[in-house]
């Protein structure tokens, strides 16, 4: 499977894979291939989200450090 460039691309491809899997015309052999592809895409998307989530946490932590603490006044 070609690795998607982005989360959005991954989701779009997942959508496509799902549609194909749901089609009556898909053979069993093909559906297994699609299943494998879906799992890989899913893995990619989940990892992308985890990475984003981690980045957000990092930024939040940085923000918390430099946050204007509203209490202090001189």
């Amino acid at each position: 499977m070609k690795t998607p460039k982005s989360f959005e691309e991954g989701m779009e491809r997942l959508n496509g894979v799902l549609a194909k899997m749901q089609s009556e015309e898909t053979t069993l052999a093909d559906s297994v291939k699609l299943y494998a592809e879906a799992a890989a895409l899913m893995e990619y998307c989940r990892a992308a989200l985890e990475k984003t989530s981690l980045q957000i946490e990092e930024i939040d932590a940085k923000l918390a450090q430099s946050a204007p603490d509203s209490g202090e006044e001189d």
Binding site: L14, S31, C45, P68, S70
Partner: protein, 404 residues
């Protein structure tokens, strides 16, 4: 013949006589100004005060002139407070003026209204010329007295609200007729500086006359030409000066002007915090949305969609297999039933069973059944019964006639 005296003695004598006069010592005098000049170096003012018939020389020293709220002009009718005496050196009779007022505030007010009307007609007060104040100024030009309370007030407010802003003071005298030109020049100078973001023109209170200078046309024109946003803060609440009309914003006091000029740090902190929280929430929502979207796919996938296809196929396969097996079994049963039938039938046809019932058959020596047509006299045949056989010799062959 009288005593001969010197010019100096005469002048001294006359001056003494004049100074001894209480009326001349403190006069209020009405007249029209003529030949007004101010000595550039000393700052003293010299002019003539006259009426229809007479005139008198007058001087106003710098310290007194500094308190003038208007610029004396040729032909202006004024009332002066003065002492009349002799200038000894020149033997000149002259007035020492310590205060000067326009003759009747009514006339001054009229002039003001006329000026206001003129400037309004020219569009100096038009709202479309009003410039918005910068949201976050870095440098604020201040036109005010170096020593006045106005500067201190502005400093305090900006120090508290927005300490990041730099103040650039262009000091001016805010009273006296020189003030107008100085203020106008100060506005122009600050306007030319690239680092100045906005300008405050301030005067910390005073009488109506004290503030009169801010009605000057030069200030109004300088303020109008000024490309930077300008806030007027001439310390009085009720009356508006012409500068107030031209300024982009008018503040009742220097402190109020400073508040207009800069944002409030605490408020900005709060806004920033709110913004930050909104952004965070937004980011989190977005992420959650993505997770949900993915979770849906995951759900469908976990429903074992291909598995179901597999199961469906497997079931079909099983069914097929079952039916094949069933058919096979049926065929097998059929065959075995037929076999049994055949066996029974075969058994029933067994000739040996007939022999057992007491019949015998005729064979050759080798056990082959002999047909009756083959019988010959003198022939050796074998008679076979169930468990024995007998060798026999045919004596004769006779034809049987059953019908007989």
């Amino acid at each position: 013949m009288a005593e001969v005296i010197s010019v100096s003695a005469l002048n001294r004598y006359v001056k003494m006589r004049l100074d001894a006069d209480d009326v001349l010592f403190d006069l209020a005098l009405r007249g029209e100004i003529a030949n007004f000049v101010q000595n550039a170096r000393s700052g003293h003012c010299y002019f003539t005060l006259r009426d229809d018939a007479c005139s008198v020389k007058a001087v106003m020293f710098r310290s007194d002139a500094a308190r003038l709220a208007f610029r004396p002009q040729e032909g202006m009718r004024v009332v002066v407070r003065c002492r009349a005496t002799l200038y000894e050196r020149d033997g000149a009779f002259q007035l020492y003026v310590n205060a000067m007022f326009p003759d009747g505030m009514g006339a001054a007010q009229l002039a003001l209204e006329q000026l206001k009307e003129k400037l309004a007609k020219e569009g100096l007060f038009d709202p479309e010329h009003k410039k918005p104040l910068p949201a976050f100024p870095q440098c604020i030009g201040v036109v005010t007295s170096k020593t006045g309370a106005a500067l201190q007030d502005i400093r305090n407010v900006i120090g508290r609200r927005w300490p990041a802003a730099k103040l650039l003071l262009c000091p001016v005298t805010v009273q006296g007729f020189e003030a107008a030109q100085q203020v106008a020049d100060a506005i122009r100078r600050l306007d030319q500086r690239r680092d100045v973001d906005e300008i405050i023109v301030a005067r910390g209170g005073g009488s109506r006359e004290d503030l009169w200078v801010f009605n000057a046309e030069v200030i109004a024109r300088a303020a109008f030409r000024c490309k930077k946003p300008l806030i007027s803060a001439i310390g009085h609440e009720i009356d508006y000066t012409i500068l107030d009309f031209v300024a982009d914003q008018r503040a009742p006091t220097p402190s109020a002007a400073a508040e207009l000029a800069v944002p409030d740090r605490a408020e900005q902190k709060r806004i920033l915090l709110e913004l930050q929280q909104n952004i965070r929430k937004n980011m989190q929502n977005r992420l959650d949305l993505c997770y949900n979207g993915l979770e849906q796919y995951n759900y469908v996938l976990e429903q074992h969609l291909p598995d179901r296809l597999l199961q469906k196929n497997a079931a079909a396969l099983q069914q097929l297999q079952d039916s094949i097996r069933a058919q096979l079994r049926e065929k097998e049963t059929d065959a075995s039933r037929q076999l049994q039938h055949a066996a029974v039938l075969a058994d029933s046809l067994n000739p040996y069973r007939v022999l057992a019932r007491g019949y015998a058959m005729m064979t050759t020596e080798k056990g082959k059944i002999l047909s009756e047509g083959a019988l010959q006299p003198e022939q050796t045949v074998y008679i076979r019964s169930a468990s024995r056989r007998a060798r026999c010799r045919v004596e004769a062959v006779e034809e049987l006639n059953e019908n007989t």
